[in-house]
């Protein structure tokens, strides 16, 4: 474990020094995410100017949901996203060899090697937004509930990573990543809306097989309604099940990988 932590600290150092080599891109990316955050907040602000409730939630509750999503997204972008964008290229070019030869878990190495320093700045901004949304909430939410909400948002970011991996790993067999990428980024939009607006079969799908409701919708429910044993058991089962499946699929993928000719 200590070895992994030390390795990760090295990744952080390399990533920050690389980010500052491309300063203009560094600032562009921060600006890009700020535009992304503005679009999300404006979308619901405009809707709430015309309707009082969406999916049973008020504007204050929806702001917490949206900002929670932005934090989970920023965590994913900071820790995992850059790595997963490049993974199909590594698989197809045979560059994965470099990762397989290291004396650490290849899944860990390919998933977290590139830490996005610019997205880290955005993570701070997104955290500020969620703090603002919680502060403007008209009723007291309590420190414990807020801490549980924060824990669930972290879990949401991890589940985003696992869900994304489900759409990257098939590249080992089908080689083209474009259709899968488009498909993921379309389905991923389900996480941007409260899950209670969807019919039962979509809700079931995003609460189990592809748990996008856990990115921010379920954490917001936990914040407003409290944590129950059923919800905790559900979240644990979904996370462990999906993690086990991703590890299994990764191993199967590696056995199909044939280096440069893959």
């Amino acid at each position: 474990m200590i070895r992994y932590l030390r390795l990760y600290l090295h990744f952080l150092r390399f990533s920050f020094s690389r980010a500052f080599e491309f300063r203009l891109d560094f600032y562009f990316r921060i600006l890009m995410d700020c535009v992304y955050y503005s679009v999300h907040l404006a979308f619901f602000a405009i809707i709430f100017a015309r309707a009082g409730v969406v999916g049973g939630w008020t504007l204050d509750q929806t702001y917490i949901f949206v900002c929670g999503f932005l934090v989970a997204d920023a965590i994913h972008m900071t820790i995992f996203a850059n790595n997963l964008w490049m993974l199909p290229v590594f698989i197809n070019r045979g560059d994965l060899d470099y990762y397989l030869l290291r004396p650490v878990s290849s899944l860990f190495f390919v998933s977290v090697r590139d830490f996005a320093a610019n997205s880290f700045v955005n993570l701070v901004i997104a955290a500020g937004l969620v703090a603002w949304a919680i502060a403007r909430y008209p009723e007291p939410l309590g420190a414990v509930r807020i801490a549980i909400f924060a824990g669930f948002i972290l879990l949401g970011a991890f589940l985003t990573y696992l869900s994304r991996m489900l759409f990257v790993i098939p590249v080992f067999w089908i080689h083209s990543s474009r259709g899968l990428e488009d498909l993921y980024y379309t389905i991923d939009n389900l996480a941007e809306r409260p899950h209670q607006i969807f019919p039962r079969w979509i809700r079931w799908a995003i609460l189990t097989a592809l748990p996008l409701a856990f990115v921010s919708s379920v954490p917001s429910h936990v914040l407003f309604e409290g944590l129950t044993i059923e919800r905790l058991a559900h979240a644990t089962a979904v996370t462990l099940g999906l993690f086990a499946f991703v590890v299994f699929a990764w191993r199967r993928g590696l056995s199909a990988y044939s280096s440069a000719s893959s």
Binding site: F22, L24, D25, F28, R29, L31, M32, V35, Y36, V39, A42, F43, I46, I47, A49, R50, A51, G52, V53, V54, G55, G56, I174, S176, R178, G179, L180, D182, L183, T186, I187, N189, L190, E192, R193, Q196, I197, F198, P199, I202
Partner: protein
Amino acid sequence: MSPRLFLHVFTIQSRKLMSYRADFWVSSVFAFLTELAIMYFLWRAIFAESGMDRIGGFSFEALILYYVAAILLGKLIRGNDRDVTVSTDIYEGSLTRYLLYPSSYFKFKYAEHVGTMIPSAIQLVIFGVLYLSLSGAPADVHVTPATVGMTVISVAVSNLLHFALLYPIQLVAFWADNVWSLNVMFRFACMMLGGLLLPLSMFPEWARPVLNVLPFRYLFDVPAMTLLGRHSVAEWMTGVAASLLWIAALGIATRLIWNRGTKSYTGVGI
């Protein structure tokens, strides 16, 4: 650039995209259905909870048809913006070979961009006809041969306007190492201010004058509203004229950026 060469580049690009058929069908069918389903269920909840018949001048059925039109026309207007490789050409130094061609680089890239419209045109016809034949047009929507004709012209102009907006952003690559984030930022702005996420009639009154002076509304909102018969001929003509003015202004700006950029271009690449 001769029309023959334009057609040749256009054909190669559309063939290239259509060659990945599984990708094409996966992304087109699922992307369209998912995008539409999200909007459908969101607005269904809003209409049900608010108890209103009309929001922002739309009945629920008309609003869903607006999204069908905006999503499908939007694909046609944007083409495949990820395939606009101007910044990559500059960054990798492959622009050099284009500079040696006896043809305008802008026109060459635009021909490629138009080529990416073919898959979207197929999707528009299939899904548009399917949706209308299954659900029918709501009472407050009037799709006629005249609105279809006006929309075709709007789409052609809006496609050029979209490219004219995207092109100078890509040219920033003459000075910056990576303009991917600028492209994404542009995409977000287009979606929000162009009417892909919400019809512009939903925006508050104070925002309308701002939206009216920006070019984004001509990208998706104007063509979709024209198709649904919600714009008069005069409004449509004003929209087309304004788009052409924007294209001309952007053309001048692009020329200036190109002239300065090519002076600093070394052709070395990464």
